[in-house]
């Protein structure tokens, strides 16, 4: 079983590394590619769990993660970026070093917390939960630290990657829930897309700081 654990650990660890890369990268296309890699790692991790535990429904989850988040969403976001004509770097609110330190702090926190809370659980579950919590927190951090709406969307999607990882670690969620979550993510993408184009139309930029200005102006009125 150690071998099975090693592979699972490797795949989940690579997902965490992808989360850090998402925080580190300041080129928008590279962010999208990293997100695709993370989703592919997720699908591999889920498929591996399915193989180890002999649970064929997990293969469906893996296939959905691969198809939706590994291919469709990155390609759609890529097109969106092209249409919006944003080629320049992503604006971070703080510099990369601070972002990395915050990320490391959150990761340590997540690992220590989950290890403390789940002393009796199986090793797969603890591992999956710990890394998933770290990935979720990093996704939230990314949404906070980015000004650009597209990379915020990527942050949101990577939170969802973390959730699927957590669900897989904890004996998987029912397939119905799985499918509905996957489709709600897809719908979220459409909503985001509509919003993006609206924001762009209004402010000539996808920098969400311009929204703050509007709010400030309304408050003054």
């Amino acid at each position: 079983m150690t071998n099975a654990y090693d592979v699972a650990h490797f795949l989940a660890g690579m997902m965490l590394v992808c989360s850090f890369t998402l925080l580190y990268q300041d080129r928008i296309l590279a962010v999208l590619n990293t997100f695709a890699v993370q989703a592919i790692m997720l699908s591999l991790a889920v498929a591996w769990q399915g193989y180890v535990r002999n649970a064929p429904d997990l293969f469906i989850t893996a296939a959905m993660a691969f198809g939706l988040k590994g291919i469709i969403i990155p390609v759609a976001l890529n097109r969106m970026v092209e249409k919006l004509g944003i080629k320049r770097g992503v604006d971070q609110v703080v510099n990369v070093g601070v972002a990395m330190f915050l990320g490391l702090g959150l990761t340590s926190l997540a690992l220590l917390l989950v290890l403390k809370v789940t002393p009796g659980a199986a090793s797969f579950t603890r591992e999956g939960l710990a890394l998933a919590l770290a990935i979720i927190l990093l996704g939230l951090l990314q949404m906070i630290l980015r000004r650009n709406a597209v990379t915020q969307i990527v942050g949101f999607m990577s939170i969802e990657n973390g959730l699927i990882l957590a669900a897989t670690g904890a004996r998987g969620m029912p397939l119905v829930v799985e499918v509905s979550v996957a489709f709600s993510v897809l719908i979220a993408l459409f909503v985001f897309a509509v919003f993006l184009f609206r924001i762009r139309e209004r402010f000539d930029s996808v920098d969400v700081e311009s929204l703050d200005k509007v709010r400030a102006a309304r408050a003054h009125r």
Partner: protein
Amino acid sequence: MPATIQSFVAQGAQMFFVLAIAPAVTGITRKVKARLMRRRGPSIFQPYRDLLKLVRKDSVLAPNATWFFRSAPYMIFAFTWVAAALVPTLASGLMFNWAADVVALVALIGAARALLALAAMDAGTAFGGIGSSREMMIASLAEPASLLVALTIAFAAGTTRLPEVAQFLIAQPLEIRVSFALAFVALVIVALAENARIPVDNPATHLELTMVHEAMVLEYSGRHLAMIEAAGHLKLTLYISLIICLFLPFGMAPFDGTAGAWAIGIGSYLAKLGLAAVALGVWEVSIAKMRVFRVSEFLGGAFTFAFLAILLEFLSREVQR
């Protein structure tokens, strides 16, 4: 005591072996770079000839340079050589076994770097000052990362002594260890920064305002420069050996091994060293130098990787217990 004598001879042989082979490593890297740029490039033995030429030449000193400026190259060379002697290359379990500690290694290299930075400021030129300040900035970012890598390894192997780490890893069955992969990436980044290679510094330039290492040694000539260059070659070999010892120690002979084991040790070490030199050349050709201000992000990445390596090692240990 024959065992002591044998270990003494083995340690001495390894020390001089590393010293003798170091310039060739630089030579191979330069040759690979030149060939990839469709130049013929100098022979891989050119660094030896350069050193010989420099030793024979007179050395020119700035009028206001102090004794420190003159003695620093020898001290730098000595520190680097001792550090290089500590890393187990051909065989593990040599005479300096008890001292071959990763933390000691980092300290030795740090001392050599501090001496170089001070010496660079001694002559009082602007370039030396710029070089020193940049070198210190890079060092302050690279050293935490290298210590974290050392800690990761120590965490897994239960010791910071290099020979024991190597033996531990050789005894270990082959398995996927994501924490080691991350530590490996971090150490490679640190090694690139410490040895003033692309993308942190360009070792082939003398005229850019962005240079770091070359700016510090600009005032040196003759035998002093020869010492510093030799120390540079040694440092590159030292870092490659360190990476080999920590991550690919397979084939290393135990010191009381048979002649066959030693032959395998020498052969595999030379093969790995050569491969690393070629890989370095390919890497340097395929990437551009970074702006100085981006170096902190690059090395921050190394720090992050090293930290993640520790976290993942900790996690897998806690979970599997």
